[in-house]
Amino acid sequence: MNRARAASNTPAPGQARPGVSDRARTLLLLLLLLLLPPLAGAGPRILVVTGGDSDVYRQMLDSVRAGIDGFCPDVATPDCAPRLIEKGLDDGILERLGQEGERWSLIVTVGIEAARALQAREIRVPVLNTLIPRSAAAELGLSPAGEEGSRSAVFIDQPLRRQLQLIPLIRPERHRLGVLLGPTTRDSAAAVRLDGRELGLQVQVREVDDGDKVGQAVRRILSRSDVLLALPDPLVYNRWTIVNIMLSSYHSRVPVIGFSAAYVRSGAVAAVYSTPEDVGRHVSDLIRRFLADPRRRLPAPQYPRYFHVRINTQVAHSLGIELPSADDVQRRLEALEGP
């Protein structure tokens, strides 16, 4: 299933593996470490701040760990492997950061809550916010087109262009795209129109600012659309509205493109999304890049590089749409984004 692209400019784990001559020394050091457990290692220490305990965090962090496993940014340093130290927000770690700030090479926040908590503090350590929605960028003072620097992010959501590129792959002959925006996604209106037009789509955008109006707005937009693209806006798309949206779109014979696997299970014909593992893999890429960079700078905030495509063949079939396989769609999307 996981067929996400591996192409990357960051060094692959093998390249950084210690040479044969280093092994004896490493072993010796390891032995010493065993003898002296209280002694801190010399490798970079990365503080991971999570909003608490959840499956999503765990999956993401497992993926980060797997990604940096065996990585050593500085072969000359003994015990050079970076170490992830995971703390929950309730640990009080933020209060102590001021005093022990210098001990950390990088702080990785996981989830919006941790990102917000850290945002409120003056910290001199570079911070990488992960698993946050793009819509939180402004609130967190992250500029999407920002410079490289000491603050960055890996978003959860997909770049708009990737989602839009999915549409011609699903409905090559139909061009009317409906997009329903709410308070969270309103800012995307211009981008949706512009990017959509570039891909040859006639974009119909409708904005809703009251949850009660979603049903009517959906009906209106469905009457003028061949495809409905769902963008992550809790006012428009939530567990309560989705029932009517799916049923109305189905009866209007307009396929929905969702933004998570759950949407495809619910009835969307397709979705492109990043799993926590996908995000974790991207985060580990960034950590390695960061640690290998002598200037220790983070790149600009990014959308997840790795993603999955899922399609609902049964809904598509019922709507009379012939779909390529999810793997095929994914490959074509990856090809469109280039190496």
Partner: protein, 673 residues
């Protein structure tokens, strides 16, 4: 990959940041990561998906809100004129009979009608009390009509066809809505709706007031008040609940101006229902639902007549019925190519009427049923459907209604279907137990029978074969459904006269009485066409045509002298039935639409007579205005532009004739935001 800017061009961020700073109003709080990974309700599960039309084991006509609006119809029966092969008659200005392939009187007993999965078929006299339903057109989301028997899925009474009326989900109606109609025929209507909801619960409450004076030639005024409620609750990702209830009271004029036995009078109708459904989606491939409903219908209609030299007599057509129904259904996607729908249900129908059944006690009839349909996609372009329903009615032998269908797609968007099925029509409680009596008004002593059933009736049995073609050409905006059918009905329940039935004091000149007996047959061969043409989203043409060749006969009279007189049924089905609708939406909110209906001469049963060719031309001119806080839709509706048309009843010599004259209505609809 180099760290890419999330936005492609350098221009966009600038543009966007401009939008951000300039955008007024609230910016929504960013959702948490849970939002992206949360479970959603399983809505379009495999079990719930409809077969694509090309794979459907039936001919289906779908009428959506656009068609409903374009038709200019003011009630559901008029909308159904758009269905190929469907005949609609106004028995009075307030009572309609909607039948498929004719063969009906004032009660079209051969069709199943469901509203949100609840049968509204009247167990007493059969058919549907259309104008009593607490359901206004504005709440209808779509109507799906299955043309041809579908007893395998919907049980006996899904005999000639099935009408599925689906009301709109309240989340699509949020806010307040008002509709007012005024026009000729003293029509005044005010409909109001409020829809709201929170936390997974959404509801609507609709109220309707409506009055009109019916046919100019008859004392058939109507005054309807109704109230209906629908609530939908999504308990969690897997459980949802539907609750509906409605109440209507309808005062309608009955009788004739010049008939001393049927003088003008008012009948009071009360109709209410309650419905509850729980649907549990176990996973993507398994769904279970449990439904309960109750329907109530009461008609108060009785009168005293004084026709000297007879003493004052009392008789009536009033009755009360209940229907209680519970059904459990299980749907399972057994594999990529196999789907099973199965279930069981029980029902209790009951009726009480001193007037037409001559007894105080309730008559009850229970039914139990088991049904299943197996859908097998043998290949991607070849599907089989094998279904059947077994029903056991109290006091009747068990019935099995099977259906076998095969669909084959020989080219993209084009397919053939072959269907063979058998269906039954159970006699209604009235047909089975009729004892319609004229009483002495003074002390309610039975005098004479007007109707009396003498023997236990068997169900009518239909065997149907169909060859269908469906072509879907999205590029041309065209969909064509063509159907050739052969229907054979045996054992027809004949509405007849028996000369030997006599009450204690037979009324002179009224020897014998009406009765029901099995005896007769009807064969209908025909062709049907359902064409939709949507060249652009603004333009719509819909054509429905049916050619039916009917032949058959049924019992008409057993005078008592040894003769058995049959009635020909060759004209019970009109040879041609046609509907043609065209609609165009102009820029600026103007919509112009017109519909034309044609029906060959035919003979209606019961109170109905032979009627000449029926033609009707309707026109609707609508303009939509966007106001600051609402959408206003104003329409002028012309009905029956062609002038006088005779409907259902044509006995001018006794002044019993339904004549439609031209009607002009003005309608305004206001949806508040």
């Amino acid at each position: 990959m180099p760290p890419t800017s999330p936005l492609r061009t350098p221009l966009l961020p600038l543009l966007l940041s401009g939008v951000i700073t300039l955008s007024p109003g609230t910016v929504g709080a960013a959702p948490s990561e849970e939002y992206f990974y949360q479970e959603m309700p399983l809505v379009l599960t495999a079990t719930r998906l409809e077969q694509p039309l090309l794979e459907t084991p039936a001919s289906v006509t779908v009428i959506d809100q656009r068609l409903i609006r374009a038709s200019g119809a003011l009630n559901i029966p008029d909308v159904l004129r758009l269905v190929p092969g469907m005949q609609v008659a106004y028995v009075t200005g307030q009572r309609m009979s909607v039948t498929y392939h004719g063969g009906a009187d004032e009660f079209a007993r051969d069709m199943q009608v469901l509203v949100d999965g609840r049968s509204v078929y009247d167990p007493g006299f059969g058919g549907v009390a259309w104008s009593d339903l607490p359901l206004e057109l504005s709440d209808v989301y779509r109507i799906e009509v299955i043309r041809g028997p579908d007893a395998a899925a919907y049980g006996s009474n899904a005999f000639a066809g099935t009408i599925n009326i689906i009301t709109e989900h309240p989340t699509g109606q949020q806010g307040n809505f008002l509709k007012a109609t005024i026009g000729e025929g003293d029509r005044r209507q005010l409909f109001a709706r409020h829809a709201g909801g929170a936390d997974g619960f959404s509801y609507r409450l609709s109220a309707n007031y409506q009055e009109d004076s019916g046919f100019d030639s008859r004392p058939d005024d109507g005054l309807l008040r109704s109230l209906s409620f629908r609530g939908d609750y999504q308990g969690n990702a897997r459980d949802r609940f539907l609750i509906e209830a409605g109440y209507s009271s309808n005062r309608i004029g009955e009788g004739f101006y010049d008939d001393p036995f049927q003088p003008p009078r008012d009948a009071d109708h009360v109709n209410h229902f309650q419905q509850l459904r729980w649907t549990h989606t176990a996973d993507e491939n398994n769904e279970f639902s449990l439904q309960f409903y109750h329907n109530y219908q009461r008609i108060d209609d009785h009168l005293e007549v004084e026709v000297p030299p007879l003493p004052p007599l009392a008789y009536g057509l009033g009755f009360t019925t209940h229907r209680y129904d519970i059904e459990a259904q299980y749907t399972s996607q057994l594999g990529p190519s196999l789907r099973l729908v199965g279930g069981a249900g029980v029902r209790r129908d009951s009726i009480q009427s001193i007037w037409v059944l001559n007894r105080e006690e309730w008559i009850e009839r229970d039914q139990a049923r088991l049904f299943a349909n197996l859908e097998w996609r043998q290949r991607s372009n070849l599907q089989w459907n094998l279904g059947g329903m077994f029903e056991k009615f109290e006091g009747k032998r068990g019935l099995f209604s099977p259906r076998l269908a095969v669909n084959y797609q020989f080219a993209t968007g084009q397919g053939l279907r072959l269907i063979a099925s058998r269906a039954y029509r159970m006699p209604t409680l009235w047909e089975d137990n009729a004892e319609f009596v004229a009483f002495l008004a003074a002390d309610m002593t039975p005098v004479d029978y007007l109707y009396k059933t003498l023997e236990e009736l068997d169900p009518e049995e239909m065997t149907s074969y169909e060859v269908g073609y469906l072509g879907d050409f999205p590029r041309w905006g065209t969909r064509l459904d063509l159907r050739l059918f052969h229907e054979r009905i045996r054992n027809t329940i004949s509405d007849m006269h028996i000369g030997t039935i006599a009450g204690p004091w037979p009324i002179p000149g009224g020897e014998g009485a009406g009765s029901y007996m099995n005896g007769g047959h009807l064969t209908i061969d025909g062709l049907e066409l359902d064409l939709t043409y949507e060249p652009t989203p603004a333009a719509l043409v819909k054509l429905g045509y049916s050619l039916a060749d009917a032949s058959g006969e049924q019992l008409k009279d057993i005078p008592g002298d040894g003769r058995v007189i049959m009635r020909s049924l060759d004209q019970a089905v009109p040879r041609h039935t046609l509907s043609l609708l065209g609609s165009y939406r102009f820029r600026g909110g103007l919509e112009l639409s017109s519909a034309y209906y044609y029906m060959s001469e035919m003979t209606w049963g019961g109170e109905g007579t032979e009627v000449p060719v029926y033609q009707r031309l309707d026109l609707r001119l609508g303009q939509r205005f966007r106001l600051s806080d609402s959408d206003l839709d104003v329409a002028l509706i012309f009905q029956n532009l062609g002038g006088d048309t005779i409907d259902f009843m044509n006995s001018p010599e006794i002044n019993q004739i339904n004549i439609w004259t031209q009607r002009l209505y003005l309608q305004a609809q206001l949806q508040f935001h």
